[in-house]
Each structure stands twice: as C-alpha cells, then as structure tokens.
C-alpha cells in the first residue's frame, strides 16, 4: 500500500460517511424515512454500499498495483498480508487488495445491472398482467409459472458453458432474463389491489390513458416492494455471478471478479487462506448490507409492525 492509496481509502470512507449523514439529516423531516433510518444496521449497510461504490469507481486511485500484473512469481507468490500487500498476494503473485478493488467493478456492476434488467422486466410484465387482466394476465402468468419452475442454475450454466466465453453484457442480460419471475408476481399482486383503489378509478374516469395510469398512478404506489426486491435482487445476482465464476465459467480471467478470485485460489486455501477469504468477505459484506437496507425499506413501509 502506498501513501496515496491510504489517502484515497480515507477520502472514500469520509465521503461515504458524509453521504449517509446527509441522507439521514434530510430523512428526519419525513416520518416514513425516519423509520427507514431507525435501525443502526440500515445506516451501516447504506454506508458500506456507498463506500464500496466509491471504491469501485475510483479503483485506479485506491489500488496500488495493476490487478493483473504478476509481481514476482518466484518470491512474491502467496505472500502473507503485510503493509505493502495489505491482503497478501495470490497464487500468481498478484496483489489481492488491488484485485479485490478492481473486482468490485465487475462484481458490483453485474449485480446492479443484472438486477436492473430483472426488476425492470419483472415490473413491466407484472404491471401489464395485473392491469389488463383477462387473457393477457393468464398468458403472462402461465409463462411466469414455467419460469419459476426452470432450474435457473442449469439454464445459466448451459448458457454460459455452451456459448463459450460470454461477454460481460451478455452475461448481465442472461442473468437478468432468468431472474425476473418472482418480481413480476409481486408487482402483479400489488397492481391488482391498487387498480381497484379510488385514486386509480378517478384517474381513469378523468380520461387518463392506460400508460399514464400505470406509470403515474399505479407503479409509484407499488414502489416499496419493487425497491425491496431490487435490493435483494442485486445481492442474488452477485451471488449467482460469484457461483458461476467459481465453477470456472463466468467472467474470463485474468480480469478479477470476487467469484473467480475465490475459484483461482481455492486450491491454495490451506497454505494461503487470505486470497480466498477476503473476496468472500467482500461478497458477504455487500449482500449483508443490501439485506440490511432491504430490511430498512420494508420496515419503513410496513406501518403495523411497530414492535420490531
């Protein structure tokens, strides 16, 4: 670690903490958002996510070494953590800290984009099915039944293994396309109940078109469960990508993702556990933060659960 990297980490930490503090400050004005910040874990989760997002964006400043460079295969292979190599080096003498930092870009990127595809698609299909009902609903929901019965891991394995070396975008799309079924059921149920409500009936009576009713009146009121499923979705996609990379069929080496870092070094876990442990910790830290934030959102929107 160079002085510059330490400084960059410090700045990232301060930025993340300031961001959460500013959000909290603004949130205090509204009852709903006050409830969101009631749990200390929610603020922590948000802060950790902000920090990791900043780290991913500013990776070149924070990583002291080139993540793919083999520093010295003879002397620096599986070097234990030290001040120079904060998290040690891996089996190919690459700096684990630098790889973890750069890996955040790919892992968080796939998580966020994959979940974005999945949640958008799920929301769209769910809204259409719930709003128009009748045969559209029947057809779409039977499709969703099939989707939920698909062994998703098989489909992903097939897509990734058979089309050898899918690029990043294709991987995001494939993961997104196989992950939206649950969200669409959730959104459909919300839309089904919302479309009976007076404000929707009124909007329609005033002559608003279906598109306007769905996007301006119905969906904003279903935002809560959508946000929760998005937060959980990012975590799930992240875990899925890690699993695929671990099986050796995700993002191609040498580009680091947290999943393929674990896969690369799993064989030396007994002699050099650090190169496997830290990427795994990074994954669980992100997923844990996302779960904490999802808990906070759920809490903020669920007025009757005041005990918890």
């Amino acid at each position: 670690m160079t002085l510059g990297s330490w400084l960059a980490v410090f700045v990232a930490l301060v930025l993340a903490a300031e961001l959460v503090r500013a959000l909290r400050h603004r949130a205090m004005r509204q009852e709903r958002w006050r409830r969101f910040f009631r749990h200390r874990t929610t603020s922590w989760g948000l802060g950790i996510l902000a920090f990791l997002a900043i780290v991913a964006l500013a990776a070149p400043l924070i990583a002291p070494f080139d993540p793919n460079k083999q520093l010295d295969i003879v002397r620096l292979k599986n070097h234990a953590p030290s001040w120079t190599f904060l998290l040690g080096t891996d089996v190919l003498s690459r700096d684990v800290w630098s790889r973890t930092v750069y890996g955040a870009r790919v892992s968080l990127g796939i998580g966020a984009l994959g979940a974005l595809v999945a949640v958008s698609l799920g929301t769209f299909v769910g809204a259409i099915a719930g709003y128009y009902q009748r045969w559209i609903d029947a057809v779409l929901m039977r499709g969703v039944d099939v989707g939920l019965a698909l062994p998703r891991i098989f489909i992903l394995l097939m897509a990734v293994a058979l089309w050898d070396g899918l690029p990043f975008t294709a991987l995001v799309i494939v993961i997104g396309l196989t992950s939206w079924f649950g969200t669409s059921r959730l959104v459909r149920a919300e839309v089904l109940s919302l479309r009976q409500r007076d404000f929707v009936v009124a909007a329609r009576a005033l002559g608003a078109g279906s598109g306007r009713v769905i996007f301006r009146h119905v969906l904003p009121n279903a935002a809560a469960p959508i946000i929760v499923s998005a937060a959980l979705g990012v975590g799930n996609v992240l875990l899925l990508e890690a699993a695929l990379s671990f099986l050796g069929i995700g993002i191609k080496p040498p580009d680091p993702t947290w999943g393929n870092m674990i896969a690369d070094n799993a064989s030396s876990i007994y002699s050099a556990p650090w190169s496997t442990l830290f990427p795994g910790l990074a994954i669980s830290l992100v997923v844990m933060s996302l779960n904490a934030v999802a808990d906070g959102v759920r809490d903020a929107l669920d007025p009757h659960e005041d005990a918890a």
């Binding site: 874990t41 009902q133 609903d137 029947a138 039977r142 039944d145 099939v146 939920l148 019965a149 698909l150 062994p151 998703r152 891991i153 098989f154 489909i155 394995l157 097939m158 897509a159 293994a161 058979l162 089309w163 050898d164 975590g235 875990l239 890690a242 699993a243 671990f246 099986l247 999943g259 674990i262 799993a266 876990i269 007994y270 556990p273 496997t276 442990l277 795994g280 994954i283 669980s284 830290l285 997923v287 844990m288 779960n291 904490a292 009757h304 659960e305 005990a307 918890a308």
Partner: protein, 335 residues
C-alpha cells in the same frame, strides 16, 4: 365453482394438469436451448470423421423439430435416452445419483427447519433484547454468505485444520465401497456432515429471519391479544396461538426451499465431490451430454413443481379460509 370436497378435487386435478404442462414446457425449453447452442458433443481432440459418425449415431444430423419429436416419442415410452459420454441409459445414471442428492437435501432440510424454526421462535419471544439482536445479526451474516465460500471455510477449519471430518466424497473407498454394515452407515453420515451443514446453515439463517417476522406479524392480531387478556399462559400463547398461525406462511416457504436446495446442490456437490444429481448435471452440461442434461432438467423442474403443489395442498388443509379465496381467484381469471 364452490368450496367443499368436489371443488377441492377439481382444483387438485386442475393443478395437476397445470403442473404437467409446466414440466413439459421446461423440458421443451431446455431441449431447444441445448440444441441451438453452438458446438457439438465431441471432445476437442477427436478426429472430425469420428465426430461426424458420432453425430449421425446420436441422430444429431436430423433437424431439430425431428429430434424433438423423436425425443418426446421416447419420453412417452418412459425412455430417457442414452448418455453420450458413456452410453449408459440416462435413467440408470439418474437413478444412481438421486439417492445421494436426497440424502444431502434431506439432511440439509432437517437442519434448516429445526434450527431455523427454533431460532426464529426464540427470537420472536425476546424482540429487540440482547439475544434477539445477537442471533439477528448472526443470521443476517450467515444468510449473506456465498454457500460455496462457506463450504471452503468449513473444509479449511473442520476438514483440514482440525481433521474432524473427511474433505470429500460420500464414503471411505477402501473400508466402505458400499453401504452394507453399521460401520458404513456411520461412515456415510460422517461424510455427510460438512456438505449438509453448509447447505443447512445458510438455509436455517433464512428460515430464522423468515419465522421471526412471521411470528411478529401474528403477534399483533386480535386473537393473540384476546388469548393473553383472558390469562392464557405465555408459553401456550406462543405455541398454540402464535406459532400455529405463523406456520401457515412457513408451509409456503417449505415449498420454495426445493429450488434453493437444487441450486446449492450443484455447487456443494461439486466442492465436496458428492456423487449426486447436481454434480451429474454440471458435468453433463460441460460435456454436452444432451439427453442427460434434458433429463436432469426434467427431474429438477418436477421437484420444484411438486414442492409448490405440496405446499399449496398443505396450506389448503391447514387453512380453510384459503380454499374459498383460491376458488374466488379462479373465477376472476376465467370470468
């Protein structure tokens, strides 16, 4: 459509037909996906002439609709085809591996539900007090772990460092080639501990979080308040009034646990060299063993669909209110 026995039977029949249709659709999808994928099921170093001959032998030179028709015809006769890689009937390959996956999933499920339910109920009785907070944070952490990483961790600690459990396989190859004595049964359990603990712990963390929330949701209901008000002992309130009703949503979770176990099985079986169906499917995909892949997908989707159906039936038995609601929903859809 009205409630009652006749309504229930026709509901069940309808659900069964729908389930078969879903499985059929999954098989079709997987069949098409694997057949339109680029590449042929030949090892890379094989002579192209041999490869062509193999292609003809497996009938892969025919058009995809023809192949699909032939596959369905064979399937209708209960024939799942022959594995490309070793020529065995696919049915044999699956029949050999399913018991292993069932043992693994069964043990994991048991740990999942016993530990998860216990913790969730315990936490719900001590909301926001220290034990609840400690367990809550621990379950949040474990729930967020990648299963394969937890597997490596357990292997490192209990397999390698402490040497308490074997690091892979399903039995001792020398002393216990087959399970034929008490010693070998114990040996099997011994090998089962780490993989089942990995899957079970992650599942239990999720179950505990779920069950805590379910118990708390019921806690504010009028009948719970009434029970307390009329002086029912706390223990009885929790077990008879809260838990019974909170278990309803738990049944649905039980049905949803199957896909999770299947997903986990692929990774866990690969890591622990457990000769189950997940590993079989993974290897079949890598070696482009089309009949084997399609058959494992068939089995997997059947398990998922059966799990959902079972949960719906159990909920229907446990909660009479739902029967009315289910038939009402059918009316809305068909209207």
């Amino acid at each position: 459509m009205t409630g009652g026995a006749g309504g229930g039977a026709s509901w069940l029949l309808r659900r069964l037909v729908a389930s078969v249709a879903i499985i059929f659709a999954v098989v079709t999808f997987v069949f098409m996906l694997i057949h339109v994928a680029p590449g042929r099921p030949c090892p890379e170093n094989v002579d192209p002439a041999v490869c062509d001959q193999l292609t003809r032998q497996f009938g892969l030179d025919k058009s995809i609709p023809t192949q699909y028709g032939l596959y369905l015809l064979a399937l209708a006769h209960g024939n799942l085809g022959y594995s490309f890689s070793d020529g065995r009937p696919v049915r044999t390959a699956i029949a050999e591996t399913i018991p292993f996956t069932l043992q693994l999933a069964g043990a994991a499920l048991l740990l999942d539900f016993l530990l998860g339910l216990g913790l969730g109920i315990y936490q719900a009785g001590r909301v926001n007090r220290l034990p609840d907070l400690i367990i809550g944070n621990a379950t949040l952490f474990i729930y967020s772990l990648p299963t394969f990483w937890l597997a490596l961790l357990l292997l490192l600690v209990f397999g390698e460092k402490l040497g308490w459990f074997p690091v892979g396989g399903s039995n001792d190859p020398v002393l216990c080639p087959s399970v034929d004595s008490l010693y070998c049964v114990v040996d099997r359990f011994w090998h089962l501990v780490l993989p089942a603990a990995t899957l079970g712990l992650v599942g239990a963390a999720g179950t505990a979080r779920f069950q805590r929330a379910a118990m708390l949701e019921v806690a504010t209901q009028d009948y719970v308040r009434t029970a307390r008000a009329k002086g029912v002992p706390e223990r009885r309130v929790v077990l008879r009034h809260q838990l019974r009703n909170a278990l309803l949503s738990f049944i649905t979770r039980f049905g949803l646990a199957f896909p999770f176990l299947l997903t986990g099985a692929v990774l866990i079986e690969t890591i622990f060299a457990w000769p189950g169906m997940g590993r079989l499917a993974f290897e079949a995909i890598l070696s482009r063993d089309y009949p084997l892949v399609t058959a494992t997908a068939l089995v997997a989707s059947t398990v998922v669909v059966a799990g959902n159906l079972l949960a719906d039936i159990l909920v229907g038995i446990a909660d009479p209110r739902l029967r009315v609601r289910a038939s009402a929903e059918v009316e809305v859809v068909t209207a």
